[in-house]
């Protein structure tokens, strides 16, 4: 750890806005040469946006970046790489089909008159892999055939081939097993000994303690603490920093649940190989059950399996006592189950089509006589729903693409309202939704429950799960590790459970 006078990179007052949302509202921190700087924050705190700003994929609206004291601005990732900043994203961006060496030098191949100097590419790749402690990776192997861990090493080699002085690693351990994590840490230590700085993002407290030097905490797009000593700071303090919000969303009040309400959804022993196992779940009419867990913990997969969109390897799903055919969306929809998927744009909506068509798509037979659609009636019903849900701007003939995230989510909810479903599965219902619309969506969900719908909510926002639900299940690595009433557990306890720590 060298702590010379000027930091390698300083970030000052960086603000990044997207239509309807301020993703970053003022971020400050310094990265010194040779340190591992950990970034901590809940989902939606702005970590991904920050990485993209640092790596030149986004331009900040305000604020500045200084590289060794000089103000720099990156127009694109290539600019950033030339300066010495390289990001290794969670979804690795290697080209399958090209060799390891070709991947490392992709875009800056040493060449003579347009002919790549192949021998040199291979030689320099081997040297880089050696420097990373992995001479075992063959330079001419197809990069798509490597293990996730080795792909990560190749990504790092690519960053170093551009003379990377600052590596940003976004949850690198998420795809690795324990041995691979150990190897990764060894590599990181060797790099930092050579003066390379690493910005390391992880949710796992024990990793931060082991590899990190200093910690910066982000919350709601702002820096709330920076330069904390990674080994000494108390976990409880970090969790408090991550959760204490300035923005209070209004969670609607809830009526005490009628204990005699009939059970609508029963899930027994549901499992999907490699994803999750042994999931039991019952939801009564009018009850909201929350699933809390990290991305990749299996919570979205559980919802998909309940809905039939993913075929389970074991277990049963019953609605109103009737068992659903496994892995059949049609059966689930007929039984009255609706899903608002996590990726609203790619899984939920027909973006280029009119609002009313998106609302009626699951209920078409109700508007058809002998297969002919009464589009007048469709529009009337859609207009009633969009008015009730206050979709703005109004107008059911508008393409869904032109609406903001919150209003798009309302359109998906309207689809299932129209169908009068018995069970509603919501995966990250407020992702990409701005603060104002959030409370409205919470109201809607509560409203639906009061009308007797059984609701299951998945969210990585712990406060959201606790604020909305009657009962909470905490999922970690494909298993339910806790189940109980929402009032009897608090946010730090849930965070502790999902991150697998033992502190608090």
């Amino acid at each position: 750890m060298t702590s010379s006078g000027t930091p390698l990179l300083s970030v000052r007052g960086v603000v990044k806005r997207f239509p309807g949302v301020t993703a970053l509202g003022g971020v400050d921190f310094d990265v010194r040469a040779g340190e591992v700087h950990c970034l901590l924050g809940q989902n939606g705190a702005g970590k991904s946006t920050l990485i993209k700003v640092l790596a030149g994929a986004h331009r900040p609206d305000e604020g500045e970046l200084r590289w060794q004291g000089e103000v720099v601005s990156f127009d694109n990732p290539t600019d950033a790489m030339r300066t010495g900043v390289a990001a290794i994203y969670q979804e690795l961006d290697l080209v399958a089909g090209l060799s390891v060496a070709d991947n490392v030098f992709l875009g800056h191949e040493p060449a003579t008159a347009g002919f790549t100097r192949r021998a040199e590419v291979r030689r320099r790749t081997r040297a880089l892999l050696e420097r990373l402690g992995h001479p075992d990776i063959p330079a001419d192997r197809d990069a798509g055939r490597l293990s996730a861990a080795n792909q990560q090493i190749v990504s790092m080699a690519r960053a170093l081939s551009r003379d990377g002085r600052l590596l940003i690693m976004d949850e690198p351990s998420a795809v690795l097993d324990q041995d691979e994590v150990r190897t990764l840490f060894r590599v990181i230590r060797e790099l930092t000994a050579q003066g390379v700085a690493v910005v390391y993002i992880s949710h796992r407290m024990e990793e931060i303690r082991e590899i990190g030097d200093r910690v910066t905490v982000l919350k709601d797009g702002r820096t709330v603490a920076t330069g904390l000593p990674a080994r000494e700071v108390r976990t409880a303090d970090l969790i408090k920093l991550m959760t204490g919000r300035d923005l209070e969303y209004a969670f609607p009040g809830r009526e005490p649940l009628d204990p005699t309400a009939p059970v609508v959804l029963t899930v027994r022993g549901l499992a999907a190989s490699g994803r999750f196992s042994g999931v039991d779940l019952t939801v009564r009419a009018g009850e909201v059950v929350g699933l809390a867990g990290l991305v990749g913990s299996g919570r979205s997969e559980i919802l998909e399996a309940v809905y039939g969109a993913r075929k389970p390897s074991a277990g049963t799903v019953e609605v109103d006592g009737k068992r659903l055919r496994r892995g059949s969306v049609g059966a689930a929809v007929r039984a009255g189950v609706g899903l608002c998927p996590e990726e609203r744009k790619s899984q939920g909506l027909l973006l280029d089509q009119a609002v009313y068509r998106n609302i009626t798509v699951s209920t078409l037979p109700a508007f058809a006589r002998f297969g002919f659609l009464d589009s007048g009636a469709e529009r009337v019903r859609a207009r009633e729903l969009t008015t009730a849900l206050d979709v703005r701007p109004p107008g059911v003939d508008r393409a869904v693409r032109t609406l903001s995230g919150g209003n798009q989510q309302k359109v998906v909810l309207a689809r299932w309202l129209l169908r009068e479903c018995r069970v509603l599965l919501l995966d990250e219902p407020t992702r990409g939704v701005d603060v104002g619309a959030r409370s409205e969506i919470y109201e809607l969900i509560r409203d639906l429950a009061e009308r007797g719908v059984a609701v299951v909510v998945v969210s990585s926002d712990v406060e959201e799960v606790l604020g909305l639900s009657d009962r909470v299940l905490v999922v970690r690595e494909g298993r339910v590790v806790h189940e109980g009433p929402a009032q009897e557990i608090d946010e730090s306890r849930v965070l502790d459970l999902v991150m697998g720590g033992t502190a608090a």
Binding site: L339, Q347, L350, S362, F372, G376, G395, R415
Partner: protein, 345 residues
Amino acid sequence: MSENTATAAVAPTSGPPDGGRARRAVTGILGSAAGRNTGLVVALVLLCLVGVITAGDRFADVDNLLTILRLASVIGVVSVGMTFVITGGGIDLSVGAIVALSSVWATTLATQSVANDAHWSALVFTALAVGAGCGVINGGLIAYGRIVAFIATLAMLAAARGLAEILSNRKTQIVNVPGFTAFFDASVLGVPVLVIIFVVVAIVGWVVLNRTTFGRRTFAVGGNPEAARLAGIDVRRHTVLLYTLLGVCCGIAAVMLIARTTTGSSTHGVLYELDAIAAVVIGGTLLSGGRGTIAGTVFGVLIFTTLSNVFTLNNLSISAQAVAKGAIIVVAVLLQQRLARRGDT
């Protein structure tokens, strides 16, 4: 801006009931069809002008115009079916081969003798059944076998034409079913039956695509298959239905071709896949799926057929026609992209 005016224009139609509503609906449909297809209408009118100027009365002659329509009819029926498949996010390269196989199967000695003994419609049903069967196979391979549409239908292209050659022994089979020939050679009020069939197929196609559950699901499946699946639509079954529908259209086209040429042959329908796809695309249907227009397709077919007619009347070679065709496709698609971008903002 244009978004707002569109909403405002639509809103009142659901308001006041009775007589005015139907009229407004009709003018609305015509208006929007003409509006969206202005470019195509202009292109067609220009082509006709060129025809009149260069070939004079030989072009602007009722018989010549009927010839254009008769020629447009066969490929037109295939193109209407193709519009469905492309709107649903697929592609079918095997249409020409299916037309050939259907025409051969419907004109074998066996089929013809049944047709003569029982009723000439046996010939028609054979062609439709063969077309539908090929469509089911295409759709099944794509939806349940998970073979990419391009490859599955490429295989069908090779296999169906091969089978047609085997069945016909590479000979042209002359039709000798008087009832059949008499029916399809007829005209109603001066309009040939072939043209009437095309008009009926186009109208039915328009209604099914724009006014039925099936049509709506086609847009959904083509626009975002994953979202359609999660909304509860059986995407795989729908895909099979789309290719089957196109197969039936190929069967109809085969019947029309048999009537026009009085033969069934394994060389029928060569390159129909390209003509049909070109007509669909210049009509404004998105090759990536999710957006499709039957009216545009009809205009597309008319433009290409009129173009060949004008070239033929002026004694220009088939090769020159091909060059012009290529140019038209490029210009049309460039224009559409420009318009689409303007529509977005």
